[in-house]
Amino acid sequence: MNANKYRKILPFMRLLFFMGLVPFFSSCEKVIDFDPGETTPYVVMKSRPTNDSLVSVYLSRSTFFLEDDYYDYGSYAGSIPYITDASVRLYVGSEYYDGTLLQDGDRKYYQFNIRPKVGDSLHVEATVPGYDVKVTAGTRIPSMPVVEIVDYEVEQDEYGSSPRFRLRFKIKSGSGREYYSLSLDRSTQKTQMDSVTWIWDTAGQQRVQCYFMTDDAIFSNTDIGTVIDGDDGSLYGTEMSCSNELFSNGEHLFVVEFGMDMHSYVGDDVSDMPVWLAVRSLSPELYKYNQTMQAQAESEELLAEPVQVICNVSGGIGVFGGMSQKEKRLPVARKKTQQ
C-alpha cells in the first residue's frame, strides 16, 4: 500500500476508534425503583444459653439497608437499638420462665432465673410491641466436650527475651456431627459473671493474641492461624469454631502456640498468670451463625461471593443456640516486666 492510500485510511480508522470510545465514557448510573418487600426493621435475637449458667436473651432491631449508617460504632454498644419493652418467655422442657430486663453498661438484655442442664431443650418466645408475629426459636444444650491436655511448655528463644508458649490438647468426639469453639487467653484470674462463665483478664490492659496451628484440612477453610482475640473489630467474637468432620468417633490433636511477651505491664505483685483454655460444644445453629458471621466479617474482597448469615429465629433474625463449656487452667509463672 502506498503512502497516499495510508494517509487516507488513517483518519478513517481514527474516526472509527473514537466512535468505539463513546460507550466507555458514557456509561451511567441511574436510581431504580424496586419492591423491597418488607422495610420494617426485623427483631434481632441473640442468646447463647450455656449449661449451669443463667440464660440471657438480647433483643434489638435491624435497619433497612437504605437507612443512614448511624450505627457505625463497632463494639460500642451505646447506639444499638435494644428492645426493652418486649415480653420474653423461656420454656425449658414443659416449664417456662419470664425474663427480666437487666442492664450492664450500655447493654440491655432479658435474663431468666434458670440454669439449664446438658441435654435440656429450650424454646424462647418474644412478643414485641408493634410486631404482629411472635419471635420464636429453639435449641438444645449439647453434651460437654471431652478435652485432654497432652502437654504444654514455655520455650525460650536464644536470647531469653521472647518466650513462646506451646500447648497440645485433644478433643474426643462422639459419632455424630459435633461442633466446637475454642478460645485461649492469658489472664491473672477468672471472674464469675452473671450469666456466662468467661475467662476474664482483669489485670492486663490488652489480651494476649493466640493462634491455633494445625495443618489438618478441617481447619484450612478457616484460614489456619485465625486470631482468636477480639481486639480487631472486624472479627466476630474471640473464638475459633470447628466441627468434628474429620475425626468423628475419634480424637483430634490440636497444637497452640503464642508469644508470651505481648501482654502489657500488670504490676510486679502478680506472680502467676495462667493460660486458660476454654472448649465449648456448640449447638448446630450456634455453630452456623458463628461461622457465617465470621466469614462475612472477613469477606472484604471485591469479587468474593456474598456470605449469608445463617439464623434460626422465626419471625426475626439472629440466633438462639445452646452450648456447654469446659475450661482448663494451665499455670504459667509470670516474668516480671520492666517499667
Partner: protein
Amino acid sequence: MQTMTHIRTHTIIFAVTMFLCSALMAQNYTISGTVRATSTGETLISATVYDMLSGKGALTNAQGRYSLTLPRGRVALRVSYVGYKTLYDTIELVANREMNVKLESSVQLQTVTIRADRVSSHRSSQMSAIDVPVDNIKSVPVLFGETDVLKALQLLPGVQSGTEGLSGIYVRGGGPDQNLFLLDGVPLYNVNHLGGFFSAFNADAIKNVTLYKGSFPARFGGRLSSVLDITTNDGNDKKIGGDISVGVVAAKVNLEGPLYKDKTTFNVSYRRTYFDLLMQPMIMAVGLAEDMGRTNMGYYFYDLNAKVTHRFSDRSRLIASWYSGDDKIYARVKYNDGYQSETVKLGYNWGNMVGSLRWNYELSPKLFMNITGAYTQYRNKVSVGYETDGKGSDFSDVEMSYNSGIRDITLKGDFDYQPGPDHTVKFGGAYVHHIFQPEVIGLKEESSDHEYDIDTAVGGSAIHAEEMSLYAEDDWSISEAFKVNVGVNVTGFAVQGSFYPSLQPRVSGRYMLNEDLSVKVGYSFMTQYMHQLSNSSISLPTDLWVPVTAKIEPMYAHQVAAGVFYNLMGLVDLSMELYGKNMENMLEYRDGASFMGSSTGWEEKVCMGDGWSYGMELLAQRSIGQVTGWVGYTLSRTMRRFDREGQKLNDGEPFPAKYDRRHDISVMVSYKPSKKFDASATWVFSSGNVGTLAMQRFVDPETGAQSSYIEHRNNFRMPAYHRLDVGVNFHKQKEHGVRTLSISVYNLYNRQNPFMVYRSSSHSYTLNGKHYNSALVQLSLFPIIPSLSYNYKF
C-alpha cells in the same frame, strides 16, 4: 450403587437398540458422493439428497458426503441446500455409483429472493437442535458492528446471554462451562475475548454452525447443556479470493483459494483489535505530562484461523487446521532520574491454541471414516514485574506470575455407515490425554550480583487425566411417519487413582401426524468431567478449568424434551418444545470464597450441589423470501440446591440460579429487497438477572459485630432487559469484487439496561412516602451506539 443402576438400565436400552438395528440389511444399490458449491468448491453440510419416488433421503455429513441406498430402478433425485438452487436429476440405478453434485448459489443467479427446498426441522428426528446459517449470523446487528456467533445464538429460544454485552451463553439453565464448543471437531476451552464482550469465533472463517440444546446425538459428549459444532471454510478451489473488513474496534482479513487447482485449498483469517495502536500516542503524551515516565500500555486480541485441505481423490481428503487466539493487556511504565531507571510491568495474557490433522476416507460407498489427531491448549498468565537498571552494570529484575491452563492431546475416529435407506449409523471413539495446571505461582528474580537469583514455581502440580469414549447411534426410519435416533455414549475418566465410568443413553423420536405436523420426544444423559470455576458473571482470564478429582465428582444431567413442530405452508416453521433437566454435582464457590488471595487450594473453595431447570420454548422461523427471521419466546425456571453436609449454600434450601429468568423474547428480522441493499433488526426482552442483596443490616446485640442480613441467595431481581438493534448494509459491485458499507445502531432507543446494581449514598430515594439518603442504583454500560464498518469481498 446409583452408577450400577445407571449401567444396568443403559445396558438394556443399548441391547434393544442394537437388536433392532440388526434387522436392516437388504439388497440395494448405493449412490454416494459429495455436495459442493459451484462457485467456491466448498462442501455443503446438511444438504439434502432426496429420492422423490421412494420418499427416501439423506443428509450430507460434516465433510459434505452423502450415501443413499435405494432399490434398483428409476431414481428421481432432488438435491437442495438453503441459499442454493435446487438440483433435480433422474437416473436409472443399476449399480453402486458415485455422484458428486454442485449447487449454484441462488444469490449469484441474479435472483433477489432466496429460495430453497429445504428439509424443514419438523421432518428431522433430531430435536432441540438449530442450524444457524452463517449469512444470518452476519446479518444480525451487533455491538460495535462486530459480527459475533455467540451473540447471534443468544437470540434463540433456550439460549440466554449473561450480563449485558457479554458473549457467554447459558443453555436451558446450564452454566457457561457446560457448553461444548467444537471448532472443526476439536474442543475450544475459552471462547471469549475482552472478558466476554466478543467471542473467539471469526464469522469470516466459518462455514456452518449447529447448536444442540438437548436430545444430544450419541456422538457428542463431555458437557451437560449444549454442543456448538462449528465448521470452518475449506477454501475456494477455483480462484484466490477473500474479504477485508475495517470496523470500529477491529480489522479482519480473510484469504482463500487453491494452492494446487482442484486438489489443495487454503483458507486463512486474521482479526485484530487496534485500541492499543491508536491510543498509544495519547497514553504516552498523558504519561509524560503527568510525570509518570515513559508509559506504554494497551489491550488487544487477535484470532488466526488457518486451514489447508488436500484432496487425494473424491474419496480421500487430508485437512490441517489451526486456530490461535490471544488476549493481552500490558502496561509498562519507565521512570528515569538520570542515574537509575525503574520499570514497572504488568501483564495479563490468555488464549487458546488448537491444531488438528484430519483424514477423511470413504472406505466403501456405505462407510465413511474420519480420523482426527488434535492438540488443544488454553492458558492464562497474570504477571507483575519490577526492573531497575543503574548506570554501569547494576540491574535487578523481579517478576511474579500466576499461571493456569489446560492441554489436551486427542486421537479420535468417527465412522458414518449407511447400511440401507432407513438407517444412518454413526460410531466411533476417542482418547484424550488432559493435563490440567490449575494454579501455579512463579517467582523470578535476577540481579547483577546474582546473589539472590531465583527462578521457581509453587502451587498446584499438574493433574494428568485420561478420558476415553465410545459411541454408536442410528438414525432409523421405522416407517414413513416414525423415525428415531437411538444411541449410547460410553465414557471413562481416570484421574488421581480414581476412575469414573459412565454409560449415557440418548434417544429421540419423531412422529409425523401429517405432512406438515410432527411431534418429537427426546431423552439424553450427559456426563461432564471438568468444571470451570468462575467467581463473577464476567469471564475473567483467571477462571480455572479443573478436572474431577478424587474429591470432586463428575457432573451429570438427565434431560427430557418433547415438542410439536409445524411447517406452515412451506413458509414458516413453528415449534413448541418443553424440557426438563436435572443436574448433579455442580460446583459453586463457597460463601465468601474468591479465586484471589487465598492460601487454600481450589478444592477447598468450592462446594458441590445440584440444579434443575424446566421450561417452554416457542419459535416461529421464516427462512425463505425477502423477509426472513424468527420470533422466539422462552418461559423457564432454573434452580440450584446445595444441601450436602459441609457444602451447604443458602442453608441447604433451593435458590434461583444466577441466570434464572422467567421470560425471554427475541425477534430477528432481516429484509433483503435487492442485491444492493439489505437491512435487519433485532429486539430482545428478558426478565432481569437475579443477584444477592442484603435488605437489612443488624448488629449482634451481644457482641456489637455488624452484619448484613441476606434472606436468601439471589433474592433480588434486577429490572428487565430490553433493547432494539438495527443495521443496514449497502453493497456495490466494483471492478474486482463487492464493497459493503455497514451501518448499525446498537440500543436504538437508548434503553439503560442494568449491568450491576448497588446501594449508593450519593443519591436519595423516597419509598412509601419515606425519604432515604441512599438509593439503589444501577450502572448501565451501553447507551445508543452507532457503528460503521467497511468490507471488501473479492
